[in-house]
């Protein structure tokens, strides 16, 4: 019967931490993981905040906000999903800023010695053979949408569209390549730099896809005053050093 108090205290602790959840909640694109973790740690250490970050595909996060997730700040990997929320008045448009830029790369497992130049009609399908091309789902995940646009502009999309392994976010695609389950994959440059088990085969020309911009905004439901302070911090020189170290570019 000594279990009963334990169970009660568990229940109680869960309730209390939910009730005085003063820490704000940030929903951020999966590709921001390592850099944003570091930036938020610095912010929390300096301000005494307790910020929680939930990472996922920007699409999934936007849908969560649409359904009333108690988020304070949204960092999206593409403009479209931020526009989607803005159109539904779910973000404070006056707080919206373009925070970062990124690039798209073709990667392989680190042990692979494949070489390829990205040019119109480049032999991607042949390089895949019986394997698949890991990429975020081109139907809705930003990294996948950029990837499809890039492959389309190179004229190779139709030859590889049946060979892709679409994943729920870009980091899942990164993991597939890192584990050697697929011979090639398309991720952001920052993802490739964060994973030692993959190698960048080539970078897609910046003109082959829409500019990769990460917009950020405070949500309409946010009651946390710290949300805009965190957003300011993410644009400060201190945070910029972190972004650049992880391979992001500055949006202007």
């Amino acid at each position: 019967m000594r279990l009963v108090p334990v169970v009660f205290s568990l229940l109680f602790s869960a309730v209390s931490s939910g009730a005085n959840a003063e820490g704000m909640i940030v929903l951020a694109a999966a590709s921001l993981k390592d850099a944003l973790d570091e930036a938020v740690r610095t912010f929390d250490a300096n301000t005494g905040q307790n910020t929680k970050v939930s990472y996922g595909a920007s699409s999934a996060l936007a849908r969560q906000i649409e359904r009333g997730a108690p988020a304070d700040l949204f960092l999206s990997a593409d403009v479209e999903w931020m526009d989607y929320l803005a159109g539904r008045k779910l973000i404070r448009t006056e707080t919206r800023v373009d925070l970062l830029t990124n690039r798209l790369v073709l990667i392989s497992p680190a042990a692979s010695n494949v070489t390829m130049q990205i040019a119109p009609g480049f032999p991607l399908a042949a390089a895949l053979g019986n394997g698949r091309l890991a990429m975020a789902d081109p139907d809705y995940v930003p990294a996948g949408k950029y990837g499809r646009a890039a492959l389309q502009s190179m004229g190779v999309w139709t030859s590889v569209s049946t060979k892709i392994a679409p994943s729920e976010d870009v980091r899942a695609a990164l993991r597939l390549v890192a584990r050697g389950e697929t011979p090639l994959g398309i991720v952001y440059r920052t993802d490739a730099l964060a994973e030692r088990k993959v190698r960048i085969v080539a970078e897609f020309p910046a003109t082959s896809h829409p500019l990769i911009v990460y917009p950020a905004a405070v949500t309409a439901v946010s009651k946390s005053a710290a949300a805009s302070r965190l957003l300011d911090f993410l644009r400060s020189p201190a945070a910029r050093a972190i972004w650049i170290r992880h391979g992001f570019g500055r949006a202007n």
Partner: protein, 236 residues
């Protein structure tokens, strides 16, 4: 409100995955259930726990273990590819493996219970009349356990149809290959304007589940009546 061709293909794929998972795991589940119900061996408790693991583990964990085992670089994955040229990664066969593993404990439980409920005297009678152990099993034990086997098959089938976490972790979400009903519903909820399709597929899932429950109920009743003979009808 009628499902589109794409949605019907998703349904077809889900049925294929779930049916194969049931058919392939059935003999194994019967063997395991029989050994748990009738045989005492060292480490039985541990074995029993291991069989039930997929029931209590988070599906993502099961999917991750499957990926580590059956993946291109997993021990079993490497052997399958080298010996038989079989690759299950990103294939519907992989989805069937995930569904089968997740449904396995449910099947074993149901079959085991009906093995345990069988009157051993009937088997003894068959033996004294000259039937060998295999003949006893095939002509007495298994037919008597039929309601449990059917229930187990249905439970596992339903579990396979609903399987999400292990599947998406193990074989990803590939249209026409591993994008089964739950994965398709999830995908549609991610796409702007996908709500209608998501809702249609969800309703389809409800209809399918009800149909499966109904069919199994009828089959179990029939099997029970056949076993019990007149007793089931209340006559003597």
């Amino acid at each position: 409100m009628f499902p589109t061709l794409e949605e019907l293909q998703i349904l077809g794929l889900s049925l294929k995955v779930a049916l194969w998972s049931v058919l392939v795991s059935l003999p194994l589940a019967v063997a395991v259930a029989y050994s748990l119900a009738r045989v005492n061996f060292p480490g039985k408790t541990l074995f029993d726990a291991a069989v039930h693991l997929p029931l209590v583990l988070p599906p993502v964990v099961v999917g991750y273990f499957l990926l580590l085992t059956f993946g291109r670089r997993g021990p079993v994955g490497i052997l399958l590819e080298e010996w038989f040229g079989i690759v299950v990664m990103f294939k519907w066969t992989g989805a069937a493996i995930a569904a089968g593993v997740m449904g396995f404990p449910l099947m074993v439980r149901a079959v085991r219970l009906s093995f345990e409920a069988i009157d051993r005297k009937l088997e003894d009678a068959a033996s004294t009349l000259g039937a060998g152990p295999l003949a006893v099993f095939a002509t007495v034990t298994l037919p008597l356990a039929l309601p449990g086997v059917l229930t187990g098959m249905l439970l596992s089938f339903a579990r396979g149809l609903g399987e999400f976490g292990a599947t998406i972790t193990f074989v990803s979400n590939i249209p026409g290959e591993t994008r089964t009903l739950p994965l398709a519903i999830y995908t549609y909820t991610q796409v702007p304007g996908g709500d209608e399709s998501a809702l249609r597929l969800s309703l389809l899932a409800v209809v399918l589940s009800l149909a499966a429950l109904f069919v199994s109920e009828v089959m179990v009743r029939r099997a029970t009546r056949r076993i019990m003979g007149d007793d089931a009808d209340g006559r003597h």
